[in-house]
Amino acid sequence: MKTYENKKSMELRAGFGMGLLEAGQRNPDVVALTADVCGSVKINDFAKAFPERFVQCGIAEANMVGIAAGMSLCGKVPFLGGFAEFVTGRVYDQIRQVVCYSNKNVKVCGSHAGISLGEDGATHQTMEDIALMKALPNMTVLVPCDYNQAKAATLAAAEHVGPVYLRLGRSKMPNFTEEGAKFEIGKAQLLNEGKDVTLFACGHLVWEALEAAKALEAEGISAEVINIHTIKPLDVEAIVASARKTRAVVTCEEHLFNGGMGDSVAQALALHCPTPMEYVAVDDKFGESGTPDEMLTNYGLRAANIVEKAHAVLRRK
């Protein structure tokens, strides 16, 4: 079994900030916009390095989306950054009309996604954003799992031509993927080979899935861990191949059951390889205030919960 080490817990949004800075250095057409949360979403390094390519929109997300779409017409590659809830749910129609339907090269970057945002509470903890964004034709949906991958995903988004939603968390989380590894959009990442059950995970829960695989290994259960960092386009081939092998699937995500990565996996399996499956996700409710640790634990998004669901699915095999 391959082991992964948490080199140092870091914020995914910080990885995004570093990726954006590097993307800006590589490509003079990369521009950044924010709605009064420059520091919170880590656009400040870019803004400092390239003040003439940074647009402060004030607290007006809808306008920001339109401006980004307009700038893209002139060959710019706009990255707009804000809290995930306010750059997805709040501006859904704007993204639908002028980004996705008009198929513009705009990157929507949502920080503070998920329940691990913590103390701010449910108003700011979106767990619906993957569902919203993946429903839009032309949209690519990226959910990196750690700091290194957030940086790599940002660079990949800058090179990809077309609308992208990039989901990022606020809190410090284990950083365990290889620094500088290339991020391949649409290509599932096999982290651990196994034969009894497949754990498909995304975002912060990839680390939890790796921890779960270790615990299962100790019980003599061989768990395959696959990072679904691209929810759309989904790597159906990799998902089906793994499900055919293990015949038991658990999906793990910091999102609602409805419309999340798990539903994408379920759809792929229903069409190509019906397989017993369990979800580790939040079941149709809003979050609340608490520390990030408390939130993940109390909402059932820990390695122990994944182990429990693995047992459940193995009983159905």
């Binding site: 521009v31 003439e52 390519r53 647009v55 929109c57 004030g58 007006a60 809808a62 306008n63 920001m64 989306v65 339109g66 401006i67 980004a68 779409a69 307009g70 700038m71 893209s72 017409l73 002139c74 060959g75 710019k76 706009p78 129609d93 704007q94 639908r96 009309q97 002028v98 339907y101 008009s102 198929n103 513009k104």
Partner: protein
């Protein structure tokens, strides 16, 4: 350069096109289209610097126009076709399955001249600002124009955009508001009184030009020339264009009835009789 008389002649034909397109499609928005036909003709044929034969999405070196109230596609498509963006005969396909002439403007179907989907109201000014910023960043000194319905400015995003453009000195942008005082559910006064529009725009740090009669070609030409002359001076420019919904057909004027309803096939001859066929029907 075309004379005022020539432009009036074109606008008359465009009004015929609008009526024939919408009646044939049995749907569409003739009222606002007729009201803005003079302005749109002036823009396409005289005011804007653009080259229909060399349309490019990035609009480099060309003025851009975003019609934010996308429902007035009849006038958008007719003026574009008459100006040479695509064959006039294609107006026959308006709103029909498989057409490039979608009910509301779309980039999905590859119609030259359209750079952004519109019609979900309130979004075009933001897009125009973005394009204007993009032009500044790329050293392109051409202009960005937007057009809005007066009812449309009830959308909150418009005020976000107005605040941005004023505060950030987006002075290569001219936003025109079709001030016809009508919207679907009644007059703008009945639905949502717009108050002192000029004062509001000025309070948002815009320079305002008022065209008292937007259905008088000479006034439109003079007003838009004045607006152009005011660009590049540190403020965005707004044009309040007073028009009459349904202008050009007596029974369509002074009412919001034809905002989103078409003239019946039976009534069409009565309407067309008031508009001379000047350039040949499509």
């Amino acid at each position: 350069m075309k004379s005022t008389k020539e432009l009036q002649t074109i606008a008359t034909q465009i009004r015929r096109d609008i009526l024939r397109m919408t009646t044939a499609a049995k749907s569409g928005h003739p009222g606002g289209s007729l009201g803005t036909a003079d302005w749109m003709t002036a823009m396409q044929f005289e005011i804007m610097k653009h080259d229909p034969e060399h349309f490019s999405m990035d609009g480099k070196g060309q003025d851009m126009l975003f019609v934010s109230q996308g429902h007035i596609t009849p006038v958008i498509y007719s003026t574009m076709a008459r100006r040479g963006y695509f064959p006039v005969s294609e107006l026959n396909t308006f709103r029909k399955f498989g057409t490039r002439l979608q009910g509301h403007p779309s980039t999905e179907h590859g119609l030259p001249g359209i750079r952004m989907a519109s019609g979900s109201l309130g979004q075009g000014l933001s897009v125009g600002i973005g394009a204007a910023l993009g032009k500044k960043m790329t050293g392109d000194d051409t202009l960005v124009y937007t057009l809005h319905g007066d009812g449309e400015i009830q959308e909150g995003q418009i005020w976000e955009a107005l605040m941005f453009a004023g505060a950030k000195h987006v002075d290569n942008l001219i936003a025109t508001i079709d001030y016809n005082h009508q919207q679907i559910d009644g007059t703008t006064d009945q639905v949502m009184n717009l108050g002192d529009l000029k004062a509001k725009l000025e309070a948002f740090m815009w320079t305002v030009v008022v065209i008292e009669n937007g259905n008088d070609m000479q006034q439109v030409l003079d007003g838009m020339a004045k607006a152009k002359a005011l660009t590049g001076k540190g403020s965005p420019v707004a044009v309040i264009l007073t028009t009459e919904m349904g202008y050009g057909v007596d029974f369509m004027q002074g009412t919001n009835k034809y905002h989103g309803a078409v003239v019946s096939a039976d009534d069409l001859p009565k309407a067309l009789a008031q508009l001379e066929e000047t350039l040949g029907d499509f």
